[in-house]
């Protein structure tokens, strides 16, 4: 009896020790790189998105701050300049010839100049920008509300996502792009911003136009937006995960 207790004891302690050793002994790096294990870890994203969408009413607003809260220095992250020659020549003439293209699964594909965008229903909001790295900055944004704009171009019934095609390249992976679903697209605080802190958007912050999607992390707020494409799925596009950073392993749903 005593022997059996001892054996059971040593078995249990050994398995506990093994569990600890597996985790600490460098196996974690192999696990981190295993596609199957990554798939398992990533299942948490579905749970987070599902629960957040459940408790977050479609209209709930991100907190808005006052002028006194504005960051003295708003860090520009990701691309801070664009090398593309076509963008450079547009920038040369203060984007007078720039057009935002809206196409894909829409009834009336459209091209809009900056002046036309400025004439659309707009919204000004002082919000907090939360970078996935951990820092936050507060800025004042003015832009055209995306919802009414989408209503005017008309979405086809099978349109489920909007893909934002940008002018900047990061790393060697190519052009920046992002995507949002229609819940965020029609949220009142989702705007195509052309002004920051009361002045036209500067190049480090995404001139001439950037997305503000206030209930998600910074990388969703695509800069240098050139084209908005309505799609039913982004699975066949680029890395298939709906965005530049998403293709590198970051969450598509960046509400946390």
């Amino acid at each position: 009896m005593a022997d059996r207790t001892l054996n059971r004891r040593s078995f249990l302690t050994r398995s506990a020790a093994l569990g600890g050793a597996v985790l600490l002994g460098g196996c974690d790096n192999r696990l981190s790189r295993s596609p199957t294990f990554r798939e398992l870890l990533s299942s948490a994203e579905g749970a987070t998105q599902g629960v957040q969408r459940l408790i977050l009413s479609n209209r709930a607003l991100a907190r808005e701050y006052t002028e006194a809260d504005l960051s003295a220095h708003f860090k520009a992250n990701g691309s801070t300049q664009v090398d593309d020659p076509r963008y450079r020549s547009l920038a040369q003439s203060q984007f007078a010839d720039w057009r935002l293209k809206i196409d894909g699964l829409v009834d009336r594909p459209t091209e809009l100049s900056l002046a036309e965008l400025r004439a659309l229903p707009s919204r000004t909001q002082i919000t907090r920008h939360d970078c996935v790295e951990g820092w936050s900055a507060i800025g004042k944004w003015t832009g055209a509300q995306l919802g009414p704009l989408l209503q005017s171009v008309g979405l086809k019934p099978d349109a489920r996502y909007l893909v934002l095609h940008c002018a900047d390249t990061l790393g060697r992976d190519g052009l920046y792009y992002e995507s949002i679903d229609l819940i965020d697209a029609f949220h009142p605080q989702t705007i195509l911003a052309y002004d920051m802190n009361g002045a036209a958007l500067t190049e480090p912050h995404g001139a001439p136009l950037r997305l503000r999607v206030e209930r998600q992390l910074g990388y969703k707020h695509a800069k240098y937006v050139m084209r908005i494409e309505a799609v039913s799925s982004f699975e066949k596009m680029r890395g298939g995960r709906g965005g530049f950073w998403e293709d590198l392993g970051y969450e598509w749903y960046a509400g946390i």
Binding site: T13, S32, S43, A44, T48, Q52, A62, K75, G134, R215
Partner: protein
């Protein structure tokens, strides 16, 4: 003299319920992964602030690498207005070609190499497991009376807390009948962790979510801003590490095998002193 009768008797009691044992070990795994992946996430911006936003000149803690005048590199950690040389551990670690500027060193982050995206995947998966496991434990403990019966200190215990402290300082642990229950310091420590530190680490973590901030704006007011919540999250993690260090130390000094066995099989051995007989 009947020497045989003087030898202390041993008695086995069933100390930890199955659910407590299972949730305890799942919790161990979760906290280990959450700590290590959390430090990976922290490393992406190894600076803490108070308030809503990050103003670089108002950091309360920061870790960074600098180049010394002789060309070599140093890791510096600044807390408030004090700067410490933490080369090799904080701010700068690794050796030879692997020397790199990073908040916490590779051996304590998950994954060990720099990879924020993967760190977040680990963190959020185990955060879910941690919360579900914790809720399971809480539901059981409240329903079964575990909290009321085993964790809530009695009035008498609270009145004699001084005695318990002085016994702990001398590493004298309860024997016999007394050893069948948690002592008052143990009860208070467990209660503070279960109903204080752990809920706080979850809430401060959730406050960093821009999505949840929109659903529950009071979270921002509770912590005084998102950056404060990040700092509180870090402090809670530090508190949990300190608790675990003391907890494991106490497990060692009060009978390693007995304690471990009781948390694995439930059986706990008690020495009944002969004093009780006369």
């Amino acid at each position: 003299m009947h020497t045989a009768a003087i030898a202390p008797r041993t008695e086995f009691i069933y100390r930890h319920a199955l659910i407590v044992r299972i949730t305890h070990w799942i919790n161990v795994l979760c906290l280990l992964v959450l700590l290590m992946s959390g430090l990976q996430i922290f490393n992406a911006h190894a600076t803490l602030y108070w308030g809503s936003k990050s103003e670089p000149d108002r950091a309360i803690l920061s870790m960074r690498a600098v180049q010394r005048e002789d060309g070599s590199y140093a890791g510096l950690t600044t807390i408030g207005s004090h700067t410490f040389d933490t080369t090799g551990v904080l701010g700068l670690s690794g050796s030879g070609e692997d020397l790199e500027s990073r908040g916490f060193p590779a051996w304590i982050t998950l994954p060990s190499y720099r990879d924020l995206a993967t760190g977040r995947r680990w963190h959020f998966f185990f955060a879910w497991l941690f919360v579900l496991n914790g809720l399971g434990y809480l539901a059981y403990s409240l329903w079964s009376g575990h909290v009321r019966r085993d964790l809530a200190p009695t009035r008498g215990e609270l009145e004699h807390i001084g005695t318990s402290i002085s016994e702990h300082i001398r590493f004298r642990f309860p024997k016999g009948e007394e050893a069948k229950r948690y002592n008052v310091l143990q009860k208070l420590a467990y209660l503070a962790v279960i109903f204080g530190l752990l809920p706080l680490v979850v809430l401060s973590g959730l406050t960093m979510s821009p999505g949840l901030d929109s659903a529950f704006p009071f979270l921002l007011d509770l912590f005084g801003g998102r950056q404060s919540a990040r700092t509180v999250h870090f402090l809670c993690a530090t508190g949990i590490v300190l608790f675990v260090l003391v907890h494991v130390f106490m497990v060692f000094v009060s009978g390693l095998w007995n304690n471990l066995r009781s948390m694995i099989t439930g059986r706990y051995e008690i020495d009944t002193p002969e004093g009780g007989h006369g």
